[in-house]
């Protein structure tokens, strides 16, 4: 898939994803060892974006399973189209029940969901299991099964085995501790906040109109905020939002007024805004 770590970095960068050495190395290994990649880290550091970028550079189809409280087999794996089945039965053709049953449990009535979609077919795929920690524990059992053998048993159809293993990315925000068994199946990648230099490059790439000096100041202030004890420190997503806002405001340097007026873009809680304003020596808000 990728000849080298540098190749991973270069190709991801072409799609607009700037990977740290750590990220590039781990993606390279996941492809090389054929193992799922578990990505953890705070919100807004580019976990989801990474999976999308990998799909793009490898020419794969992105299959996404968005997890949430209560997501179950019928949403994740497959479901029978009951309405259609009932219609078919009540249409009551001249046939025995056995014949009808064989018919209604055929391909035509199957609704494949992301996990099944990801292991069927020969085209390359990236399976993104997003926010895995939001799903209930029961869901993990299913994931484990699918990620171990890349096969799924549909009682009425038999066992379906992947002809081509998808590249799997699971993301988690550590909302719920994932089980040891699931972790063991995966390579582990923690994406933290980027180093200053990388974050500057991300800002310049995503907000091209922003001057170099301003981009540097933005990243420095964000760094200072992350060192504060806030309820929610700003992530890369907020850095980008802030940079965009500054561009729209037409600011070419940071000053107290600009920072004070736009702090709400970076910080979501009022008490964080107050605390940060005090620490940054902004006059009263």
């Amino acid at each position: 898939m990728f000849p080298s770590v540098d190749d991973v970095s270069a190709r991801l960068a072409e799609t607009g994803y700037l990977a740290s050495r750590q990220v590039a190395t781990t993606v390279f290994l996941a492809a090389r060892l054929g193992k799922p990649l578990l990505v953890e880290g705070p919100a807004g550091v580019g976990k989801t974006e990474l999976a999308k970028a990998v799909a793009e550079v490898t020419g794969s189809r992105l299959v996404r399973l968005q997890c949430y409280e209560g997501v179950d087999e019928s949403r994740a794996l497959y479901e029978w189209n009951h309405a259609k089945q009932l219609l078919r039965i009540s249409a009551g053709r001249d046939e025995t029940w056995d014949e009808a049953r064989t018919d209604i449990f055929g391909e035509e009535f199957l609704l494949p969901r992301p996990l099944l979609t990801a292991i069927r077919g020969a085209e390359p795929k990236v399976l993104l299991i997003d926010e895995t920690d939001k799903a209930d524990v029961e869901m993990e059992g299913l994931l484990l099964e699918v990620l171990s053998d890349f096969q799924v048993t549909v009682p009425e159809l038999g066992t379906i085995t992947a002809t081509r293993k998808p590249f799997v990315v699971l993301t988690s925000n550590a909302g719920r501790e994932l089980s040891e068994a699931l972790r063991r199946r995966c390579l582990f990648l923690h994406i933290g906040f980027p180093e200053e230099e990388l974050e500057r490059r991300i800002v310049r790439l995503k907000v091209p109109g922003l001057g170099e000096a301003l981009a540097e100041s933005v990243v420095r202030v964000i760094g200072a905020l992350r060192a504060m004890d806030l309820r929610k420190v700003p992530s890369v997503a907020e850095t980008i939002d802030w940079a965009r806002t500054l561009l729209e405001l037409g600011a070419d340097t940071l000053d107290e007024t600009v920072v004070r007026d736009s702090l709400g873009v970076i910080l979501k809680h009022q008490d964080d805004v107050l605390k940060a304003a005090a620490k940054l020596d902004l006059d009263s808000l």
């Binding site: 050495r21 750590q22 582990f188 923690h190 100041s217 200072a224 060192a227």
Partner: protein, 452 residues
Amino acid sequence: MSTPAGVTERLTGLVGALRAHGVRVGTGETVDAARAVEALGLADRELLREGLAATLLHGTGQRAVFDPVFDLYFPRGVGAPDGEPADRGDLRDRLAAALADDDRAALARLAAEAVDGLGGYGSSPESDGWSSYQTLDRLRPQTLLARVRGSVQERDGGVGFADRLLDDEIRRRIEAFRGLVATEARRRVAERRDRDEIARRAVAPTADRVDFLFANRAQLAELRRTVQPLARKLATRLAARRRRAARGTIDLRRTLRGSLSTGGVPLRPVLRRRRPVRPELVLLCDVSGSVSGFSDFTMLLVQALHDQFSKVRVFAFVNRIDEVTALLDHGRADPEGLSARIRSGATLTGWHGSSDYGVALGEFAERYGDAVGPRTTVFVLGDARTNMSDPNLPAVRHIAERARRVHWLNPEQRALWGTGDSAAPVYAELVEMRECRTARQLGDLVAGLLPV
């Protein structure tokens, strides 16, 4: 790096050290790690570091022990740095310049030179070594702050909004340099002594294995980060039962599956499972001086639980007890502030300032008895050191009889229960008391306490 021949031994050593620090590494992971080495090669040490971390680790907290251990088994170099040992003045000059430029490579080289020039002690092969403490004590990098600030301001003009951040930025760089010195001193020591031994002994444990009672400030800060997910986990476990209880709806999928036997006619609707009871939580927290590290931690847990779960009532005590649930309403994750609010806003002490479990628990049973009912799970958080006064067992018995469950989490190691003024053994006969010294133990408790 040394010859590839030793790589397998190094990998085995590294895995052994990680295991000694409580990181569970199976053979599967070790095989993956070896494949990673093969795929990445040895030329780039940082790639190797990331490759091994990706294959061997399973969680974020483990990285803090992985890095120093990796630095021992795959060191940056061998022996002393090239050239004459530098003198202190020269080192400080170059350090100031490197700090001003935030030049990571130069800082790493300087750490090596500094340990070599300033960190050696002893002369006999048995007692000599390298000390990061001595190095830093002689080099005093923290005193370079003003000088570094001066040269950065001179370079950049010292204007602009971000200039006010400069001091903190330089402090963080100095802090990082101190880390580099510690790494280098460990590397030098490990060359002289048993590397496996150094990797086990001289690398600080992961935050989840630090004793609450002895945690320092930095460790407490780190612990703070481990508590949030634990509280969420506990809350999820409680909430999961609630959610299921709420669903009494028809499960269409299972109904239709069931209908296969009746020719597809859904005769028997299958109801989603319904689970009873909504658990309530009452927390009784010792906030006296003897458990200060623990109660800081307790407060974090309490705060986090409170944010996650509505049915929590919290009581704090020293020798009197008072309800503090209302003080938690601000939803802030700052234990110091909370402790202060509790101390100023609640009546926790009577005639004297030392803890008295008997009086406090008696007062609870008397004044707040109705907080505990058949659905209530009670947590007592404290060391059961009651200053030789009457433990008031009837009060505890009374609480235990009314509650669904009572769990007592004791931050002292079990061997100390019953020594001195500890009433732990007599309480433990009435309610379930568990040792809870570290975040890891707490995690295990949370996992085991409440059935999913």
